[in-house]
């Protein structure tokens, strides 16, 4: 069976290594073949961008060579797909090469899309790329005080990012002795401070305790950089001295260009993870349209499921289990405390009070990730 994995991010990499370990004999005998096509020879640990934005990581800590993360039995090419021909079971890459497959997994990820809100890209700081996170940190360093507004678009990658950056900014300014000069103001699109009700029940009093103000039902409509105000669809208007955004995201352009899904999200079966209407095409991570968190852990747990299923399909012709919607998110509650939320399609999370122990576990995971990507954790 020729297995083609399109995308070398967290989901694609974990899946490829998971499969390579499960199919050692089949890969040796030629019964199976795993090929990965990626846009980059580097692998970025995207959760690290949050720390980069507040000066707690450096860019070099975010990257590893992609080839070094993969099992040697995986055929890896830095040659992104430009055309998907699903009826012919083949793709065409940027170099013009055609790859055929028996089974394909699309894991191309997502990208921030601040351009959807007039004025946002020009006037807000964010941290979803290395360049933007570095720019944000330099802006923080030169900030002398005023109102810092956090504004959130939907859908966005990493559901905890709005809370995490808010609490980390609080500690950043506190450490600089600027607490009395900075007013943090948090906004959120729905009627509580987080989509997860139990997380909101914890976070709102935490903001009260820290003096962080907040308003809900705030969906960005436009940013007026001259007047330094952000306006909402609901009719609100908030002035700012520094605007930080968790921008809306879209799937990758290649998905839209090939008409695989509106705004780059591919219609995906929420338990089988196959592309709707296709039995031999699967979708992983941010790329799906499943109503679930766009988070690394989502991609990780989906990859675990697909790894088991695709290996079983090779060995006995049928998948063995369904994805249950599992997500696990750390929540940094400042520079040295954290909690977490774990949930699935059936069970909501029940986050506990933040502790230093969970924060240090998160710090450890920031390093352990590379073991995880190799399919070992």
């Amino acid at each position: 069976m020729k297995i083609l994995i399109v995308g070398g991010g967290m989901g694609g990499t974990i899946l490829a290594n998971n499969l390579a370990r499960r199919l050692v004999q089949e890969l040796k005998s030629g019964k199976a073949q795993i090929t990965m096509l990626s846009a980059s020879d580097k692998h970025m640990y995207q959760p690290g961008l949050l720390y980069l934005a507040v000066g707690r990581m450096t860019p070099d800590e975010l990257y590893r060579d992609q080839a070094g993360l993969l099992e040697p039995s995986i055929l890896f090419h830095v040659d992104p797909v430009e055309e998907f021909h699903l009826d012919a079971n083949q793709v065409k890459t940027k170099s013009g090469k055609v790859h055929t497959y028996d089974l394909m997994v699309i894991a191309t990820g997502s990208r921030m899309y601040p351009e959807g809100i007039p004025g946002l890209a020009e006037h807000a700081e964010t941290f979803y790329t290395e360049a933007s996170a570095l720019k944000m940190f330099k802006r923080l360093q030169s900030f002398e005080g005023g109102k810092v507004v956090i504004a959130v678009g939907v859908p966005h990658k990493c559901p905890m990012a709005p809370l995490e950056i808010t609490f980390m900014l609080h500690d950043y300014f506190k450490d600089r002795g600027m607490s009395d000069k900075v007013q943090l103001h948090y906004t959120y699109p729905i009627n509580r401070v987080h989509s997860l009700e139990n997380v909101a029940k914890w976070a709102a009093p935490e903001m009260d305790r820290l003096g962080i103000t907040y308003e809900t039902f705030f969906n960005m409509k436009e940013v007026d950089g001259d007047k330094k105000v952000v306006r909402s669809e609901e009719g609100g208007e908030v002035p700012y001295d520094l605007l930080i955004t968790i921008p809306a995201h879209r799937g990758m352009e290649v998905v839209e260009q090939n008409k695989l899904g509106q705004n780059g999200w591919i219609p995906t079966n929420r338990t089988k993870l196959n592309m709707e209407g296709r039995e031999n095409v699967f979708v992983l991570g941010d790329t799906t349209n499943i109503p679930i968190s766009k988070a690394g852990s989502t991609a990780h747990f989906e990859a675990d499921t697909l790894g088991e299923n695709i290996a079983a399909m090779v060995k006995m012709g049928t998948p063995v289990r369904e994805y249950d919607g599992k997500v696990f998110c750390f929540i940094e509650a400042g520079k040295d405390r954290a909690t977490y939320a774990m949930f699935n399609y059936q069970t909501p999370p029940d986050p506990k009070a933040p502790t230093k122990a969970v924060h240090w576990f998160k710090m450890a995971y920031n390093k352990l990730y590379w073991v995880s990507a190799r399919g070992l954790l």
Partner: protein, 76 residues
């Protein structure tokens, strides 16, 4: 021509049915109807509240076997 689109937010704790609706409305045309499916009973209050606040039209809400069906129309 106006369409009715299903927004399946069943079992979605995060981002949740309301956020799914907000995204779907952005992708819709004025006049389109969207039917949100939710297993969160809170949606029956949260969604109409937001829809009225932002200026879209709340059409109907009903519950069938633990699934709420909340219909809204994009008005602007």
């Amino acid at each position: 021509m106006a369409e009715r689109k299903i927004v399946d937010g069943k079992g979605s704790f995060c981002p949740g049915p309301l956020m799914e609706l907000i995204v779907a409305l952005k992708e819709s045309q004025v006049g389109d109807e969207l039917e949100v499916l939710s297993t969160d009973k809170g949606s029956a209050n949260d969604i109409p509240e937001w829809v009225r606040k932002v200026g879209h039209e709340f059409v109907s809400s009903s519950e069938d076997g633990g699934v709420w069906h909340i219909v809204v129309r994009k008005a602007k």
